[in-house]
């Protein structure tokens, strides 16, 4: 392996040896250390095997990136250490090593990367390799990627590689081609008042058929087409993806084709913006190994189309994309009431309304003898435009941002959530959970560089764990220090009413940040963009250091 790394780096260097190495080296470093402490109320201790209490007591996640870049070449590597991974991260990360290394050469016409790379075609519904460190998600490719610019306005990307899964790689090989035609650049003499870009992609994966039961496709292909049109303040973009038969563990080995469509339009002027998105996903789980599940080896990314919540209680019921079939929409509007108006007052008032929902798709039997989704069949028939009977998710967010004075700013939020826990999380919580969440955030500047922020949050629900209360107070001395205390209290829990207090403290010094948190973590599901991981309840001290250079 060491020799392979050397070859990967040295051959391109020798090939392009006429290039002057006049670049610079940069990088960043981060390490998190968590010491876990027994907790009676959480029943979090070494004697309770269901509590995930680690025998090591101290766990560590970390990474270091080193990048050399010059005008025409760049190369880099990333060292990662999980000794052992923090609770909630996939256990497959246990270990350490160089997980990412690449060499890249580029000029005006061509861009070649060998080694590891991330990539996205269009919206990502056909191919997206990316890293989301907070989720422990990394599906980077290792292989070769080429980008070509034949003539102005026509761009091609081509790649072949295997995807990362923890410290190893997939058995499956992914091949991809993406083309993009920017019509305004191709026909620049016509001087359009609008812009139109068209894209076409094709992706296929190869995986050997070792399954005795099924006659499986070893090469699975998918194609997509997309466009982006904008006219003055309007934008309209859409992408349609179709995937050929791809029986897998996730779809119960049905041989039905998959497809997905995503449409997004927005209009914005000063003080007002509106966005409407719609999507339909049908059997579009696409992985480089057919027996994988969870977040492992996903080739594509299917967006959740819900608001990305940041307030603690609003993240208790996060939506995770249901890749086997869902359809939904999202509406988002921002409006700023002008200064000196009735609602605007002296400083103006910001209003954000967001509504999103997601339903199952229509599914019908292919014949009387075959159940819906029966393994080894075409699975089901679906009316493209008909909405299914099961509601997965619905959420209404109303946020008002009001500056009261030069020193005081208030943000109040109301969230109404319908959350089908059995369908989203795949196991029976409480079926549909209905929750109302009320949040008030206050930001107050005490004096220059000194500010105080607090949050009061209330979650009301009759289902699951019942009501929650949360309070936070944070004091910042910018740009160097911050101190925070927060407590979450599960007041409506009929079995255990538990407090989850945490204390945080952080220092920024130059390009280095050091922070520490002591307290309890509630059990739950943590999601970013519809991709989620399950986090167990714990208690402990987290030390974190990160630095860039």
């Amino acid at each position: 392996m060491k020799y392979l790394i050397l070859i990967v780096f040295l051959i391109p260097i020798l090939t392009f040896s006429q290039i002057n190495f006049d670049g610079n080296i940069s990088g960043n470093f981060q390490n998190d250390f968590q010491l876990y402490l027994p907790d009676k109320k959480l029943d979090f201790n070494i004697n309770n095997p269901f509590s995930d209490f680690p025998e090591e007591r101290l766990l560590n996640n970390g990474f270091t990136n080193l990048i050399y870049s010059s005008k025409k070449i760049s190369m880099g590597l990333r060292y990662e250490n999980y000794l052992n991974p923090l609770l909630g991260y996939p256990s497959g990360y246990k270990g350490e090593g160089i997980t990412y290394r690449y060499f890249q050469f580029h000029n005006d016409e061509i861009d070649i990367t060998v080694g590891n790379f991330y990539e996205q075609f269009g919206s990502g519904m056909i191919l997206r390799a990316y890293e989301e460190r907070n989720l422990g998600y990394d599906n980077a490719f290792e292989g070769v990627r080429m980008k070509f610019n034949i003539i102005k306005g026509i761009n091609f990307k081509s790649l072949i590689g295997r995807q990362r899964i923890f410290f190893t790689k997939s058995d499956g090989i992914v091949r991809g081609l993406d083309s993009e035609f920017i019509l305004n650049e191709i026909f620049n003499k016509l001087n359009f008042s609008s812009n139109l870009t068209i894209g076409l992609s094709f992706v296929s994966k190869y995986e050997k058929d070792n399954n005795p039961k099924y006659n499986l496709p070893e090469n699975v292909g998918a194609w997509s087409s997309r466009f982006l049109f904008n006219l003055k303040n309007w934008n309209l973009e859409a992408e349609y993806v179709s995937k050929y038969n791809d029986p897998s563990y996730v779809n119960n080995f049905i041989f039905k084709k998959g497809n997905a469509i995503l449409i997004n339009t927005n209009y914005s002027i000063r003080g007002f913006g509106i966005n409407l998105s719609a999507k339909r996903i049908d059997n579009m789980d696409f992985r480089s190994e057919r027996n994988e599940s969870l977040q492992n080896l996903l080739i594509n990314y299917l967006p959740a189309l819900t608001k990305q919540q940041t307030y603690a209680l609003a993240t208790i019921y996060p939506y995770a994309t249901i890749t086997n079939g869902e359809m939904g929409l999202q509406f988002d509007m921002n409006y700023k009431f002008k200064k000196q108006s009735f609602f605007g007052g002296k400083y103006g008032t910001g209003l954000n309304i967001n509504f999103s929902n997601s339903y199952s798709i229509d599914k019908n039997k292919i014949n009387n003898a075959t159940d819906i989704g029966e393994t080894g069949t075409l699975g089901y028939k679906s009316n493209f435009l008909k909405i299914g009977e099961v509601k997965f998710f619905q959420e209404l967010n109303i946020e008002i941002n009001k500056k009261i004075s030069k020193k005081l700013n208030l943000i109040s939020t109301y969230i109404n959530t319908h959350y089908n826990s059995s369908e989203i999380l795949g196991y029976s919580y409480q079926g549909m959970i209905y929750a109302n969440i009320y949040i008030l955030e206050t930001q107050y500047k005490i004096k220059p560089k000194h500010s105080i922020r607090n949050e009061i949050q209330i979650l009301k629900t009759q289902e699951h764990e019942g009501d929650w209360l949360m309070g936070l107070i944070e004091y910042s001395i910018s740009p160097k220090y911050f101190f925070a205390f927060q407590n979450m209290y599960n007041s409506g829990n009929s079995i255990k009413k538990i407090n989850y207090p945490t204390f945080s403290f952080g220092i920024n010094k130059g390009k280095t940040r050091f922070s520490t948190t002591y307290g309890k973590q509630r059990a739950g599901v943590f999601c970013i963009g519809g991709v989620c991981r399950v986090v167990p309840a714990s208690n402990g001290i987290l030390l974190s250091i990160n630095s860039t250079f």
Partner: protein, 288 residues
């Protein structure tokens, strides 16, 4: 052809990489030729657990003959307890003008792909495929005996899993008929599969041998050579197994013209789907 044409050709090759599968989507296995008469099994006499040694080799592997000798020695010692399969796969099993006989098989290649033995460098082997999940399954031939002893001492057929085999050959039809009876005993763990393969003994051809003055042995005897699977590379599910449940599976296959019917063995294997560990094995000479 200018650069743009070459480039477009290069890009379009992607579009050929797609398979579209037509029905039936499920492999039709376990279909037996009508000329095969069903065999009715009696109660088994011997229910002890047998150990499976799968050793990976190749006729162009000059360090492999000592491993072959070791297998013969182990079969002598642990005769009643041990079943061996020789899998020719990977680089050292390739054919060439001096080594024209192809001993590789589809099932052997699939197993090699899964377990990674030829990548690890033959000779090596698996004893009951234990420790696959923690990647310590591949054993040097010097480690085989210790692991066989461990397996014998560890497992006195804990679950009482039983395989019975009966085979016959119809000369008129050139047809091999096999009946199997599997008794689940008191097994109640992970899902399991049943696999049935054909091996052949006494195949004589040239074998590289570093200890030979010529660097090869002209008339080397290859025993236990894996020839064919009768139910795919990974066998059939023994679904929803319940205590004492009996599975009767019947197979038939036309004799390959290269096979010497007197040297053919039938081997049945039960293994754990999750761990791949072999839980029971049985071997029958096709013609006793």
């Amino acid at each position: 052809m200018n650069n743009k044409h070459i480039f477009i050709f290069f890009l379009t090759i992607h579009f050929f990489a797609c398979d579209i599968i037509e029905e039936p989507f499920i492999n039709q296995m376990n279909q037996v030729n009508e000329y095969c008469d069903e065999y009715y099994f009696g109660y088994p006499n011997n229910t002890k657990r047998k150990i499976l040694l799968e050793y990976y080799t190749g006729h162009q592997c000059s360090t492999c003959p000592p491993a072959g000798s070791k297998v013969s020695e182990l079969l002598e010692i642990y005769n009643d307890d041990l079943i061996a399969i020789s899998i020719h796969a990977g680089f050292f099993a390739r054919i060439s003008s001096n080594y024209p006989t192809d001993y590789t098989s589809e099932v052997g290649n699939d197993w090699d792909y899964q377990f990674g033995n030829s990548d690890d460098g033959p000779p090596n082997g698996l004893v009951n495929r234990v420790n696959f999940l923690n990647n310590q399954h591949i054993l040097k031939y010097t480690e085989w005996e210790e692991n066989i002893i461990n397996q014998i001492s560890l497992t006195q057929n804990l679950y009482d899993l039983q395989i019975q085999l009966n085979s016959s050959f119809d000369e008129n039809e050139d047809l091999i008929c096999i009946d199997s009876r599997i008794d689940i005993g008191n097994y109640n763990q992970n899902d399991i599969r049943f696999k049935i393969v054909i091996t052949e003994d006494s195949l004589i051809s040239r074998q590289k041998d570093e200890s030979s003055p010529n660097g090869y042995v002209e008339n080397y005897i290859h025993n236990n050579v894996l020839r064919k699977s009768l139910n795919g590379s990974w066998g059939v599910d023994l679904n929803n197994q319940k205590s004492s449940q009996i599975f009767l599976n019947r197979y038939s296959i036309n004799k390959n013209y290269e096979w010497n019917i007197n040297n053919i063995n039938i081997i049945g294997i039960i293994y754990d789907i999750e761990t791949y560990e072999v839980l029971q094995a049985e071997k029958n000479k096709l013609i006793n």
